[in-house]
Amino acid sequence: MRMNETEKELVAMVLSGRTEAFEPLVRPYRGPLLALACRLTRNREEALEVTQEALLRAFRSLARYDVSRSFKNWLFQIAANEARDRTRKRTREKAAFDDAVHGASAAADPEAGRERQELRSDIMRCLAVLSPREREVFVLRDLEELDIKETARALRCSSVSVRVNLSSARRKLRQAIRDNFPHLEEGR
């Protein structure tokens, strides 16, 4: 999906200094962006932070946006990168914390608060069985319906890598649905 004319005009307006045009430019995607961030982080508060930062990053780098691309996919790419950065940072912090306390009381675990905020829908539980990369690929390709090429571009990896992770993700999800969520299977 290419960028439509209205979006092109709004981008041109923002780039010419009329920053008030940024809000109508991104407003149609505020829900989808938040949904994407929720599925990638599985945490609503973190998803809000990811989306806010993604929007700021989008504004800062609008001058480098390639207008031949879909604006939505470009925003998704920024949000996916931001979510990945945060996930990595959290993983590092958790590892450092674990190293520091050597398995001290779980009550002090910074992850504990996060777990309490985690989204608990069936979809979120299904996505929990996937690795971060598999989750990114599955969410972008199957839930957000980007094609393989756009998914690869958004995640800055090859189409082969997308296919490998997608295949693995679908296989794991199929197993998880069969074992734990049989009510999700349609028509069976």
């Binding site: 809000l48 800062r60 393989i148 296989r171």
Partner: protein, 172 residues
């Protein structure tokens, strides 16, 4: 194509993500193999179920206050950086090599300026016979005075130049 090979390709085939030639081979096998067809249907049902559940879950929306706060941050950032995204002063992502290049250029300029600075200015004596003494001042000062003395008449002329070597006047 064997059933084992088809099973390995079914996750991608179920979502129309195989290349056409492979997809054609899988289709031909599945049409003729009840076991693989059942496996494919299982995958398709699972994928459709996940998609339906994701749509039913609904799209979360923003609290208007938070949305307005983000847009206010954008506006504030624009005001602080001359309003155009990507303009000088904005926090735009730059490749690391750009920073390294800039640092290298600065270091290069420093080295070049040290190499070509030359000796400190000294009063020079004109070639023998011309009878002129050129007294130049410190290059760091704002005014430069050049004194020329005629050995025949003893006449002295002082030229005053500013730091850009623009002529300011003379005195005999």
């Amino acid at each position: 194509m064997t059933c084992r090979r088809v099973h390995s390709l079914i996750p991608l085939y179920a979502g129309d993500d195989l290349r056409p030639r492979l997809a054609w081979a899988v289709r031909a096998h599945v049409d003729a193999c009840p076991g693989c067809r059942e496996e494919l249907e299982g995958f398709r049902a699972a994928m459709a179920g996940v998609k339906t559940a994701a749509k039913a879950e609904g799209v979360p929306d923003w609290n208007e206050g938070k949305w307005n706060a983000v847009m206010a941050r954008v506006a504030a950032e624009a005001r602080g950086a001359g309003s155009v995204p990507g303009s000088v002063g904005m926090r735009v992502f730059r490749p690391r090599w750009a920073a390294a290049t800039a640092l290298g250029a600065v270091l290069g300029l420093v080295v070049l300026s040290l190499l070509f600075r030359g000796p400190a200015p000294q009063p020079e004596r004109a070639p023998a016979g011309s009878g002129m003494v050129i007294a130049s001042g410190d290059s760091r000062q704002d005014k430069i005075a050049i004194t020329m003395i005629s050995p025949d008449s003893g006449l002295q002329v002082v030229w005053f130049l500013d730091k850009n070597f623009d002529y300011e006047g003379e005195q005999e």
